[in-house]
Symmetry: D3
Subunit: 222 residues, 6 copies
């Protein structure tokens, strides 16, 4: 079992990929606006400032970030998501989309989560993955994916991916409709926020007691 600090580390590491100071996806207003990774420490906008366009080189539009499998053992869920971001792919800035590779250990899950700023289409490349999303009426739409199959997760709705195979990892590749989709895991956002949500809120929301809350928090690394 993971220690809480490992899990917290995972949580922060995973999420740090998803929120960096400034990553825009408005319409491109010029051919490109290669993200300036130095400037943005001292100046922040709703979207990354760019480098001088005359300094742009081909490498700004290329990345190998998605070439290696992510480490799925660093969290209790058994998954890893690697995203293109304006940090590892600065030419992505203002382009309005993200690619992501999703590695899921045997029987691992990407737990129910939502992307505040993106729709997603995922294509299964390896393994057998059960995917699904819940709409605002509470209906679950679910499908079992085999290699080559794709599935849509509508914008900002809670969805999950579950590797049905108990022996082999699964691999999925996703496109997301924002340069900085963000992600919020429902169980982590409610039980592992910093500082924690008031117990009264969790008690009522999940109809559980104080012991349950403590136990879930602890098991999720708190």
């Amino acid at each position: 079992m993971k220690s809480s600090s490992t899990i917290l580390q995972f949580f922060l590491f995973y999420l740090s990929l998803l929120l960096s100071p400034a990553k825009p996806d408005p319409h491109p207003l010029q051919d490109f606006c290669v993200a300036d990774r130095k400037t943005h420490r001292s100046f922040f906008v709703n979207g990354a400032p760019c480098i001088n366009p005359n300094s742009t080189v081909s490498a700004h539009f290329a990345t190998s970030a998605l070439s290696k499998p992510g480490k799925t053992s660093g969290n209790p869920f058994g998954f890893n998501v690697t995203l293109t971001t304006t940090a590892n792919l600065p030419g992505l800035n203002t382009m309005g989309l993200t690619m992501a590779r999703v590695d899921i250990a045997a029987n691992g899950i990407v737990p129910p989560h939502s992307h505040p700023r993106a729709s997603e289409v995922t294509i299964c490349l390896e393994g057998t993955v059960l995917v699904g999303f819940v709409d605002t009426l509470g209906r679950l739409f679910t499908q079992q994916l085999r290699p080559g199959d794709s599935f849509v997760f509508p914008k900002a709705l809670i969805h999950f991916l579950y590797n049905l195979d108990s022996l082999k990892p699964a691999l999925s590749l996703s496109g997301l409709s924002s340069q900085n989709p963000g992600a919020q895991i429902a169980s982590m956002a409610t039980f592992r926020s910093d500082p924690p949500l008031p117990n009264e809120v969790l008690r009522a929301a999940f109809q559980i007691n104080e012991n349950d809350i403590s136990r879930i928090r602890r098991n999720l690394g708190g």
Copy 2:
């Protein structure tokens, strides 16, 4: 305690307000586009079709929908949200915003939830309300509101409102930046979807066992 059918009813009723077949909030492309509540049964678009603009009357832009307190006793959380929609306020169609009144019983909560399509600013009109949201890094931002105080819930992030007063109801009025913000309660979307999420997913996501899952489902009306 509420029976499951009452709660389900609440759930469906509450959410039915939030998703109707077609409610747009693009830029208005004409002065107005009063929602046609008859036509949209047979024809659906990403946004409501309009009536003939020559048939528009003042009443299309007016509603008393928010004038009466909502019934907070129909669910285990003790709250009620009443929204302006293109059903009760057809002139709202294409205008890009919604007003909502939030009634919360003594010590009741609006449980952690997100609006897939809107930011929200709420202003407390009566009572003492603890509000907060969790960002994608897991940080909780929270504040205690007294009448006249306002608070921002950024787009699509999980947030809650909790009536700190154990004797009196609270009242809050919100503006939301979409004509059809939608809402997804984290606990309901995960434990009360229809059909239910696979137990394997919930077990891993919340690090709980089958008994916990059954109990939470039951308590939430399942």
Copy 3:
């Protein structure tokens, strides 16, 4: 009666709330982009620059700006509008909406005006208010509001609010679909601009003579 300088002061004060150097309402491209109120003196963009997201605290999302009634006696119309802005509520930056409290003295009016960048929904909280807007075909849509009643003012169209009660002030709360709606009062923009519109333009536009122009300007504080 007000002296012209008082009225001018009101005019500038009122409007200064509505235009500050840089207030964006694009889609949020990150969880939030808390407006940096210091930086924006030396650097201006179409929207406010943000503070370092690591410096964000809960107070950035909260304000009591709308808690106190505005002073309606500082202008000849008898009204006051108080808005949430990125100045008094920096967390509002990039969220795409504004809340406003509208105080109207007995028999006072919010004179015919338009918001260049926002639709508005107002809810009457106290008093009896006659509201209306004119569409681009010249049609007036009007309604009498009692507490709890709401009304829609479509984007950028001329509208007014008039307190029908000759004894008591009225109070209305509005949501607007932009973070910086702006406002332009038709009579003030035409008769009290700085410098003034050419008399030839006003003579023809209103079919009045030079004496009328001088008198209206003077009465409006010029």
Copy 4:
């Protein structure tokens, strides 16, 4: 002098060009969406429905609507605006812009007005035209244009064009950033709406008396 019915006719005719049932300017989501001028009588959306794309012909993208000078004598101001619309140029549908020719009689004006949904750049082709706009702080920005000179009117702000030449007509050509910009003349919207604005509102807004109101209304064709 014009009779009131002539002026009203002008008013309605002029404005009828600006508001037709459904003209969108969202992003084009296909190569084109040629407006269906027959269908839109029975079905209305926030934007015009299209014809079957297989029926598209070159003529849908061409118009001679702007080739002839407009009649400037049909109104008390001495101007005429002719616009490309989805009625006279159906291929314009979804393209997000409009072209307009502005004819102004000797010493005529295009009276102070705003376009709720568009910025405008005008280029003077003939004559000497004084143009200007008022911002939301009440500042007037003005310029005298000679053939070849261009000027910007920011979105939804009140602006005017005045032909300084007392002998010859002027001609200007404008681009507007919406397919259906709309227009609202400040004096007409306030004094000639149908039904009229309450006298109390006009009295306070312009600080005039009942006689003034009647006279202005009458002179503007009421």
Copy 5:
């Protein structure tokens, strides 16, 4: 060598995937708007009409369209692009993105082309692919991709993919930031339009003679 009719067929087939009557990618204004593939024969909008949301099933969000390699021998370039569309994946409607699989024969190319409505990020899955785009200043940005490498093609700029391997096919997977990106191959649009571009235009644009034009047209299947 291909006969002209085969090539034309390819051209039309390939492009027919890219333009179907109505495929929107505005912001989703509801949870989803599953494309109605029956209705859109008789009614066209800038974006597909939806089915009744109550009829939505999981299969609407799933497709195997990208699971099979495309036939690269049907055209002179040696490539095939298969896209998710609202036809093969109706739940994609309004979601604002597309996934595409790109098969390229040994030494085949995806010839210089642009997507009028989308940025693209491609990830190489098999083979060695030389990719590049030209900006509006005429600068070429190019990179050699190996499996796992990604590259950005900014919105609407001309780009190409070239399989450097003379023996083995290459495979790439792309995300595009529109539901209906469209595609225009520079050589085909100029030399194989229907009807053809005037020879005068091609002569001057490419500084070639009539014989060149005839030969190129013929070789491209004309």
Copy 6:
């Protein structure tokens, strides 16, 4: 005949007008955001930074840039396009449109090109101009324009203008739906990029041989 350096110069000069470091056309979020032409050397964003709004003067909204005919002899095609930009018209910043004058020598052409970020409506002012665009299905839509006639070029599709008159120049005025439309000439982008596209790509794309490529490059100024 032009030497290659003259043509290159033209190419770079012409295109330098189209891409400057930062020119936004999002929704205006304030009355205006006059482009700061000094600041943008050291700081770049997806859109131009503004000057302090208090420093705005009328001249920022005016330009004579379009008053003089462009020199059509500096390139092999015989045309010149002059645009309003945030450089020559800083008040245009954030307004979402551009005006352009198009001068075409006798029998000259504006060669097939596309604007990555704009739709265009052109109005012929002098001469006889054959215009046309090709859609993504390869269909050509074409029309002959006489003074006063207008034509639509849909967003990002390849189009051309050809002066049919062998004796006299033609003049056209265009509105474009972006503040920085950009332009990519199909023949120049493929044969005159810097560095050049690989010969293999051109050979296959145009089905020509190495000699053809060299000749075309040379004739286009390479």
